[in-house]
Symmetry: C2
Subunit: 204 residues, 2 copies
């Protein structure tokens, strides 16, 4: 059999075409390989199963770990998080709005994919937490920073996908950071309360 340098991309493209045409559940691995003109053996060299075609971004925890290890030692945790999310937004999401939105819709429509997605998120949180522990942050702070990072990432992703395609995702990260801060100050933008400088609320 001839080696296909683009086998992975061909399998992904075939899989997503079939998911769109006939649904995720109805699509089988042999159908994917037939569409791609490749063998099932080749499929299983690249993916553990059909579900994993969708979760190909599983190297993200590794990317996060590497980024944390490489960040200058004097940066504070939130700066590292925001800088990291800007990079992920620019390098992995920018210009792929429609594509990412289609994948996201597919994931949300299938319980087994939602479950896999939830685990992926938990794995990412663990990786970020461990990365900050390795940088010398205490365990409780590392946990809080990691949870914050992953929440910020997910809020930004959902908000970016809900908005127009030409909006920069990195800007949405900053906007969502402001929103999280507002929530924790007890003053979400749509709340009916006015917040005083000292953080106490006055009912309007």
């Amino acid at each position: 059999m001839r080696w296909s340098p683009d086998a992975r991309e061909r399998l992904e493209r075939a899989a997503f075409e079939l998911f769109a045409e006939q649904g995720y559940q109805a699509t089988t691995v042999p159908q994917i390989t037939a569409r791609a003109g490749l063998t099932t053996r080749t499929f299983f060299r690249h993916f553990a199963d059909k579900r994993e075609v969708i979760f190909a971004g599983d190297e993200i925890p590794d990317v996060a770990r590497a980024a944390l290890a490489a960040a200058p030692p004097d940066l504070d945790p939130l700066d590292i998080v925001v800088h990291g999310l800007h990079r992920v937004a620019d390098e992995r999401f920018e210009g792929r709005h429609d594509q990412v939105r289609a994948v996201r819709r597919l994931i949300l429509s299938e319980p087994s994919l939602r479950e896999r997605d939830a685990r992926k998120r938990a794995d990412l949180t663990d990786a970020v937490r461990q990365g900050f522990v390795d940088r010398g942050l205490d365990a409780s702070d590392a946990a809080a920073v990691a949870e914050t990072a992953v929440v910020l990432f997910h809020l930004a992703l959902e908000s970016w996908l809900d908005g127009p395609a030409d909006r920069r995702m990195a800007d949405v990260v900053d906007e969502q950071l402001g929103r999280l801060r507002a929530v924790l100050d007890g003053r979400p933008a749509s709340s009916r309360f006015v917040t005083r400088r000292d953080g106490r609320r006055n009912a309007t």
Copy 2:
């Protein structure tokens, strides 16, 4: 067959005894029912499978929904979240430190249980978000509030379980809220930076 009013509790107790004695993977449903002196039919009336014995707290999204619907209309979102978490802490966790810790360890030790736990967390986030949307919060704020609530709950739970059994979990909720605020202000307690009042950092 005689109806057992305490069947559910007997099955739970038997299951956790066996998980502790011989591990989760090695324990079968027939072993659990034999230990409990009940039939497998009774088991499946109470639990979909072995995994669900551990996730019996699945009504938590319903509890959250009901609490959100019942909260006075003039409370702001963060107050509702903190009040709700205090109640959950007092009513469901207080006095059960050892028991909850044993379950938590079991979940973290088994990939299939971690995955189920991650999905449970996603379901809870969805329920809280929908509850705030139903209260009139806009969708983006509701998402941010829900993520914050669930992160706060998980950080508090882990921190409480890591600490001494006589610490009140509701106090840990407050402590973790302070920690999250500090992270979002760019000043986690263990960071090497000093934070000025205006939120900008000075390197020490």
